[in-house]
């Protein structure tokens, strides 16, 4: 594969090359094993979701469905047997609202702390950093009481504002990094060319921030979509559940009888997250590869 050893002494080269090949094969084999372990639960979830029940309730576990069925997905969508559809609606609503509101608020805040100098600037950024380390698990009881006080339990609005507060610190911190990365000189050059300050900002800086907005938006999406504890405590009424709480409820109810349907529900819940992960990851892998081949 490589010709690195070509200039080394002949005998040394041969043993060196063999050793290197053995090592390369060994490493590749380990990589394959790790990949299998990594992927196995995902594969197991998906293949189970397509199995008919008689292939589940059996001591002869098979690693691939003998006959594919979509019945498990029908069960999940069947309104008389599961609350999946309303939960999906709630999740979509809460997630979209969270992402939109958090992005707007965080964008405003990140502009304030990067493009302006004012007295409480440093205090604000420091607070942001500290706030995101406060464990939500500790706050849950008083958050419940605060929402209860405003009759916001079991509402989309209540859950949304908690999620916005949850993702805001991170979003502000990250966007701040992106805005800092766009030199203000660019805007000034635009202003010399006759744009107004706002015009320069919207035409020059804003497009450069798009990747940052996408990245933080995806973060907010995954966060709100996966969130479990707050949703469990705050929106406990069946018709107000989000997907994670639905999945747990459904699992408790069917845990011994219908694992295939539970896996179908799990698959449906995981798909959007995996897609978003892959979208954003693409940029990371290109970064990784760029770093790796720079030599």
């Amino acid at each position: 594969m490589t010709a690195v050893t070509a200039t080394a002494p002949p005998t040394g080269a041969r043993t060196g090359r063999t050793a290197r090949r053995i090592r390369s094969v060994l490493f590749s084999a380990i990589a394959v094993v790790i990949t299998i372990v990594s992927v196995f639960p995902v594969y197991w979830m998906i293949q189970t979701s397509f199995k008919p029940n008689n292939e589940i309730i059996t001591s002869q576990v098979t690693f691939w469905p003998k006959s594919f069925t979509l019945r498990n997905y029908q069960t999940v969508f069947d309104a008389s047997r599961s609350e999946f559809v309303p939960a999906l609606g709630n999740s979509i609503m809460v997630t979209l609202l969270t992402v939109t509101i958090a992005l707007v608020f965080a964008f405003m805040a990140s502009l304030a702390v990067t493009r302006f100098r004012f007295k409480t600037r440093k205090a604000f950024i420091l607070t942001i950093l500290i706030v995101q380390m406060i464990p939500g698990e500790a706050m849950i009881v008083s958050v419940y009481r605060v929402l209860d006080g405003w009759s916001l339990l079991n509402t989309i609005a209540g859950l949304t504002i908690v999620y916005v507060a949850t993702v805001l610190p991170f979003t502000i911190w990250t966007l701040r990094g992106f805005v800092n990365g766009v030199p203000i000189d660019l805007e000034e050059a635009g202003m010399i060319d006759g744009l107004s300050r706002m015009g320069a900002f919207w035409k020059i800086t804003f497009p450069l921030l798009a990747p940052g907005l996408v990245a933080t938006g995806v973060f907010g999406f995954i966060q709100a979509w996966n969130e479990f504890l707050v949703s469990l405590v705050v929106n406990s009424r069946p018709e107000m559940m989000t997907l994670p709480v639905w999945l747990r409820t459904f699992q408790i109810a069917n845990g011994t009888t219908n694992w295939a349907a539970i896996m179908a529900g799990s698959t449906l819940m995981a798909i959007p997250v995996v897609i978003f992960f892959v979208i954003v990851q693409g940029r990371m892998t290109s970064g990784l590869v760029a770093g790796a081949v720079k030599g």
Partner: protein
């Protein structure tokens, strides 16, 4: 408020092109995200320096005074954080000094009992058990995650492009799984009657695991839990450390090799010092995430585990507060938890500020 469910982390390239060097990869983490900027340009003293920004933070020109504008821009974010973090935090503190149980929820006045709740918590054997359990769990999980994650990262540097891509995709899938979904799936794999784990152990390895229950016995429960958490956390550590490894200059590594340094020496003397700040940040985040683990524990208890013998701090707070209605006690436990987490987080905040000054 920090994100309530832990350990969901997402990789994002905050790609920054810096001079002629390759794109610097930042890893963005949950809640806490930070960009770990690896210096493309070398070492400053022994610490990595962040790549210089377009405009240096200090003495930047063209920064606006703007009068009231920045304050106006901060209003929405400040308001929502005050109302949903600040106010609940104060409430939590007050509640921890009150007798606050079911009666108070229904309108009875809550008398101040000052430190009674704290005394009660700190003299309760169960609290210390939970605390010990949480720390033991975090220690084991952080150690496993860091060591295995770093090994995977080192492996990635030694692989050919194809195998590295395969491995990356595999890790990515594990990483992308929502923690709750992952727990439910692992719960199914470890199912007593029809789980694939018992089947494989019995049929392929000739062990008698037919009908074996994995979750009833606490130690076995925590083994499965550790498997779930470590499985989900390794990708983050591996990707982040790998991104750092690619920034270690090849010349230095080659020079060390020519000087006869062994593999472990090269890691200890060159790679580790180079990546020290990355290791530190990842380590602290893992400690915090594993200490406050909630979703996986709670969901696994739902699949089959004895709650009293397997609860960790996060679950215990919810159990005492919302389960038993002892809000005052739960408040005291929560305040203690916040203090512990903040004490650990100080290092993270300091490190973050070093990397990226205000």
């Amino acid at each position: 408020m920090a994100e309530p469910s832990i350990l969901f982390q997402l990789p994002i390239a905050l790609g920054k092109v810096s001079g002629h060097t390759a794109i610097v990869t930042g890893a963005v983490m949950t809640t806490i995200g930070t960009t770990i900027d690896v210096a493309p340009s070398g070492i400053d003293g022994e610490r990595l320096v962040a790549p210089s920004r377009g405009t240096p933070a200090g003495g930047r020109k063209g920064v606006l005074k703007g009068g009231f504008t920045p304050y106006v821009l901060l209003i929405p974010a400040t308001a929502i954080l005050l109302v949903l973090v600040g106010w609940p935090l104060i409430q939590l503190l007050i509640m921890s000094f009150q007798e606050y149980g079911r009666a108070q929820v229904f309108g009875a006045p809550a008398p101040f009992v000052w430190f009674d709740n704290y005394v009660k918590v700190l003299t309760d054997r169960q609290f210390w058990q939970v605390l010990f359990r949480s720390f033991a769990f975090a220690t084991v999980n952080v150690a496993l995650t860091m060591v295995l994650g770093t090994l995977v990262a080192l492996l990635m540097t030694a692989l050919t492009k194809t195998f590295r891509l395969v491995l990356s995709v595999g890790l990515l899938l594990a990483w992308a799984m929502p923690p709750l979904t992952a727990t439910v799936v692992w719960g199914w794999m470890f199912d007593t009657a029809y789980g694939v784990v018992n089947f494989v152990l019995t049929n392929f390895f000739g062990l008698d695991y037919q009908g074996h229950s994995w979750l009833i016995e606490p130690l076995s429960f925590f083994t499965v839990l550790t498997l779930i958490v470590v499985w989900g956390a390794i990708p983050f550590v591996a990707f982040t450390v790998y991104a750092g490894l690619t920034q270690v200059p090849d010349e230095i590594m080659e020079a060390a090799q020519l000087d006869g340094a062994s593999g472990s020496q090269r890691f200890r003397l060159i790679v580790f010092p180079y990546l020290r700040s990355i290791f530190l940040v990842v380590f602290i985040l893992q400690v915090i995430w594993d200490l406050k683990v909630f979703t996986q524990v709670f969901a696994l208890q739902g699949i089959g585990g004895i709650r009293d013998q397997t609860s960790t701090l996060g679950v215990y707070i919810v159990q005492v507060g919302l389960g038993s209605g002892e809000y005052g006690l739960a408040g005291a436990i929560a305040v203690l938890t916040v203090i512990i987490m903040m004490a650990i987080s100080i290092y993270w905040v300091r490190q973050t500020l070093k990397e990226d000054p205000l």
